[in-house]
């Protein structure tokens, strides 16, 4: 599903340059559930941004389902993000002026899916995430857990092959966090490939596989943070 070879990411130039990733190699199988751990500044989010095709590596190869991402045009990456990748962010990143339902439908709007189909799909996902009652609420009128559920529904809406979750429980209390994790585990059980970024061991345990980033390098297995 995902194959990463010797990935480097450098920000800035010369004296001031920062090496965020220093030669990461990684394989994630279809249906896998990988937790990426590490302290802040270890390069977790940089890795996720590159995997999610919203950032590009400085060196190294990245194959997504056999496609060399580096060779993709900007439009090709847009397509990949839209159809094959679902993002879940720590601070939800819902559009504040759109209702829960409209937020969920946004990726479908960009995919050019007709309104009737969009409404059907978003209704399904609202049902799945238990938000049917909140469909027309704005994000500001929802609790943190509800917002993250909307974000998850939005990530799922185009049936992506990869879900990238960057600290999905980071802004939530532990009980709500558990609820969100159960939801992700359920999705994985149904066949979704998930990459989860976290610095909480309890959250990482839900995953099938655990990798740790340390100063831009990979160290297998768990490490307390």
């Amino acid at each position: 599903m995902i194959e990463v070879n010797n990935l480097y990411k450098t920000y800035g130039r010369g004296e001031a340059c920062v090496h965020a990733l220093k030669g990461i190699s990684l394989n994630i199988r279809k249906g896998g559930f990988v937790a990426v751990m590490g302290r802040s500044g270890s390069g977790k989010t940089t890795l996720m941004n590159i995997l999610g095709c919203i950032d590009s590596q400085s060196r190294g190869d990245y194959f997504f389902a056999g496609t060399d991402v580096r060779r993709l045009s900007a439009q090709g990456k847009v397509y990949l993000r839209n159809r094959h990748i679902g993002f879940i962010f720590q601070s939800f990143y819902l559009l504040p002026s759109l209702s829960a339902k409209q937020n969920i439908e946004l990726p479908m709007v960009y995919a050019g899916i007709p309104a009737r189909e969009r409404h059907k799909k978003s209704a399904e996902l609202l049902e799945l995430t238990g938000l049917s009652e909140r469909a027309s609420h704005l994000p500001g009128e929802l609790s943190g857990g509800q917002r993250q559920r909307v974000a998850i529904a939005r990530a799922l809406v185009n049936s992506p092959s990869l879900i990238l979750a960057d600290e999905p429980t980071g802004n939530l209390d532990s009980r709500t966090g558990e609820e969100i994790m159960r939801m992700l585990c359920g999705l994985n059980a149904k066949g979704a490939t998930i990459v989860l970024i976290t610095h909480e061991m309890a959250v990482a345990r839900c995953a099938k596989e655990l990798i740790t980033l340390r100063d831009g390098r990979l160290s297998k297995g768990a490490e307390a943070s």
């Binding site: 919203i54 950032d55 439009q75 847009v78 993000r81 839209n82 819902l94 002026s97 709007v109 960009y110």
Partner: protein, 389 residues
């Protein structure tokens, strides 16, 4: 994503910042409103000038004694016959004026009384509320008949018919034979509001042998300059150099036309500047809006919005500002045109062409000034945009 989706999002954004939207729209609105007003009032003025030309004939000229030389002791009735014989002359009409007391029953007024001939009425294509013009026979026999102005008739007789009734002018009894219909236009106001009697009668009454003006029409428009030349030569040979003054309506009107053109150009330029400033206002607010919504752009891009989606969204917003301004400007322009028409007393109408032009123009301004900010937004890097605080 369809056009409708873009417009929906744009409308939503604009509704969220009402004051900002109103201020941004104002510039375009002023520009379009003044553009429409200029075009419409300009066209109205043009139309009016053309109508005047048609009414009085573009082939007409007036000769007066040159007053500087003192009391008029030139131009007599026989000059009319003399000028009629000049080559290419169409018609020749004499006029002589005096303010006179008029009365009917207990009503008394003061009005301009003009001594003239039947020719004047055919030259000016006078229309009548009642009765007839002065005829050749009236002039020939020096009959005491009068054609009243609409105003004089109303003042003397009210709503009653005036035809066949008697009025007294400076103590002498006259029979009303007709009432002139008043035309509401700038040039004709010089001529209207006067009462007409046969020129022969006039000269007898005031023991006068001179006339105040002679108007001459050319048989056709092309020969007007030649006719003027010949008539002037004839009059000068009779009365001497500098004795005659000429008013050439065609020249006057072309002056008016020039003033109108200058007016149109100046106000048009102001309208253009207003539109330009309005456009810059839109661009400015778009840049602010994009800065404020950088994270939103990042989120949209992460969810699979292509460059064309972002470009389309912000262009739609700029277009929305411009079109809203254009629409409000169109409405304001129509109202301003009506007001201006009322004040200036000319017939104005906002043409479909002007309306269409203004809509196209504001759309163009929106696209032209929205393009740069929208392009900038579309090129934002998703990660940088997401990180933006």
């Amino acid at each position: 994503m369809r056009i409708f989706d873009y417009l929906y999002v744009a409308a939503h954004q604009l509704r969220k910042n009402r004051l900002r939207t109103a201020l941004t729209v104002l510039g375009i609105m002023i520009g379009i409103a003044s553009m429409i007003t200029v075009i419409s009032v300009g066209n109205g003025g043009q139309q009016m000038i053309n109508d005047e030309l048609k009414k009085f004939g573009i082939n007409r000229v007036w000769f007066f004694p040159n007053d500087v030389r003192g009391p008029s002791d030139i131009l007599v009735l026989s000059d009319v016959g003399m000028l009629e014989n000049v080559n290419d002359v169409g018609e020749v009409a004499p006029s002589v004026y005096k303010k006179s007391f008029m009365s009917a029953g207990s009503k008394k007024i003061v009005s301009d009384v003009v001594g003239t001939s039947d020719v004047l009425f055919s030259m000016e294509q006078t229309s009548f509320l009642e009765g007839r013009p002065i005829t050749q026979k009236d002039v020939e026999y020096g009959r005491k008949v009068v054609v009243l102005s609409e105003k004089a008739k109303n003042e003397l007789f009210g709503d009653e018919n005036a035809e066949e009734k008697k009025v007294s002018i400076n103590g002498q009894k006259y029979t009303v034979v007709g009432v002139e219909k008043e035309e509401k236009s700038i040039y004709s106001s010089f001529f209207s509001g006067k009462c007409y009697i046969p020129v022969t009668t006039f000269n007898t009454m005031f023991s006068n042998k001179y006339i105040d003006e002679i108007s001459v029409s050319a048989a056709n428009t092309d020969s007007l300059d030649r006719v003027i030349e010949n008539c002037v030569a004839l009059l000068i040979s009779k009365y001497g150099e500098g004795s005659i003054k000429i008013i050439n309506l065609t020249k006057e009107l072309s002056n008016a036309q020039n003033i109108l053109d200058i007016f149109k150009t100046v106000i048009g330029a102001v309208a253009g500047v207003a539109l330009l400033v309005g456009g810059i206002g839109i661009m400015n607010i778009m840049l602010v809006s994009i800065k404020e919504r950088t994270r939103e752009i990042g989120i949209r891009k992460a969810l699979g919005a292509g460059e064309h989606h972002v470009l389309g969204q912000f262009l739609a917003e700029a277009l929305f500002y411009a079109m809203l301004g254009g629409l409000l400007g169109l409405i304001t322009g129509v109202l301003m045109t009506r007001a201006a028409g009322g004040i200036l007393g000319i017939k104005t109408e906002v043409s479909k062409g002007a309306a269409l032009l203004s809509v196209l123009f504001s759309a163009t301004v929106g696209i032209a000034f929205g393009l740069m900010p929208a392009y900038k937004a579309s090129k934002l890097n998703p990660v940088d945009a997401l990180r933006h605080e």
